[in-house]
Symmetry: C2
């Protein structure tokens, strides 16, 4: 996994759990469907992380929409209806990259408006409006965008540890003259979770996206499997709170002052 | 202030600070403008809380859009441009209730699309798209929605203490037969912050919204004053982390089992 992912995963799982409790408390008389949009244009790892919040039958999120699964409107609506009838509400995590059966992004399916303006983006409002039009349920929606990847306040302790290790390893790679490669987290055992620092060639990883394997997505396409949960769970473990000042995280600000060049050995990226 | 507000305020201030660091780190070559939409249909208290993140000249958010201030497109764009030129980026907090000079919600100004469908809502994408069209800056936007009011994981310690006190007071009011009233937080001193439990008649507070006083909004209409900061700051103080299990907040679930009625004195809401 990539450094940073564990903390995004934790943010997404925490956020959908919290919002779902909010919806559940009002569902009888108000909002019944909540849609939360997360990043992932082609791969559904972040959406899958939302599934960690659902530990017991009926827990939110009741529906996850992955970029890897073509959107099936009828099956989706049936699933939402079923959840509302069973749980009084339905919490949905949708990946920004969800597509229809023709491979077109749902967020683009609307095309342009009457003035030829491009649609303003966001698949959450489209999913929410669909639910309203077809099932009549009152909805709310959120779009996490940068909040999910910047949320150091709810970082995973495992992820923070790995991020520091990657930084240290990268500096050592540079000092050792190893270039064209980057340090990576290598999982050596699943349960208990063990990892070590490895390396990958930039040529192998740059611009390569790893999609969710089919065995990580439940058969109906709307959730994660136990195998996926076992893979993701270790990455969100532990809390690593930043220091606070005046009620706000007191983040370090780099001065970004250029320093004299130390490495004088010429190198090319191999 | 209302119980719950301090925690929403803390979430909003933390979130805009974090997202702004993200944008700042990429602004030279990528996204320059980030827009975060918060709740507040008629009153800008939550948007104002975002202003707590800006402790030093140039800090995010550089622009706040309040429902109390008619949206001035020209002044807004000039302000965004100025911020991008000075800071390389601009972080904007926009209240869902921001209106144009005719008093119309910006989120509704677009009306319906080519098919007569109502617009899907969200003022953040409208503001972001305006910036793109008029200034050409690349943007990202987020809509917090329920996440902001459900985020117990980043609750303010002051707010949690007050919420418990309000709950206890409400039970005592009921036991004492005092009805038609609710407990409220009464501020008795600003610095150091002191408060006590008071009460308000429901008839006086139900359906009444308190707008931001003019002296809390900066003269240019895009920020908060020191007076506003002094009022809001105590409400976000202190962290009150929930217990965690499996990397996620372990929230109490009520069984919602009906119990026999204890209070048998008949009463009417006065």
């Amino acid at each position: 996994s990539c450094p940073g992912f564990g903390s995004v995963a934790k943010y997404v799982a925490v956020s959908i759990r919290e919002a779902a409790f909010d919806v559940a408390s009002m569902a009888k008389t108000s909002t019944k469907v909540f849609v939360m949009e997360v990043m992932g244009r082609h791969a559904g790892w972040i959406a899958a992380a939302g599934g960690l919040a659902a530990e017991t039958e009926g827990d939110a999120p009741q529906v996850i929409l992955f970029p890897e699964v073509a959107f099936d409107e009828e099956a989706f609506l049936a699933r939402v209806k079923d959840s509302v009838e069973k749980n009084e509400y339905c919490a949905i995590v949708v990946s920004e990259g969800v597509r229809n059966s023709e491979g077109k992004f749902l967020s683009e399916a609307g095309g342009t408006d009457a003035f030829g303006h491009a649609q303003l983006g966001g698949v959450a409002p489209i999913i929410a409006e669909l639910v309203k039009q077809k099932l009549g349920y009152k909805y709310h929606w959120a779009v996490c965008d940068y909040l999910q990847r910047a949320a150091r306040h709810i970082a995973s302790a495992v992820d923070v540890e790995q991020a520091y290790a990657m930084g240290e390893a990268a500096v050592n790679f540079a000092l050792e003259g190893r270039n064209g490669m980057m340090p990576v987290v290598v999982r050596t055992n699943n349960d208990p979770y063990h990892w070590q620092v490895g390396h990958a060639l930039l040529a192998d990883v740059a611009n390569v996206e790893k999609k969710m394997p089919p065995e990580y997505i439940s058969e109906d396409g709307f959730g994660i499997t136990e195998q996926c949960r076992r893979y993701l769970q270790p990455l969100i473990e532990g809390e690593a709170y930043p220091p606070y000042k005046n009620g706000l995280p007191d983040y370090v600000r780099l001065k970004n002052v250029p320093v004299p060049k130390i490495l004088n050995t010429p190198f090319e990226i191999s």
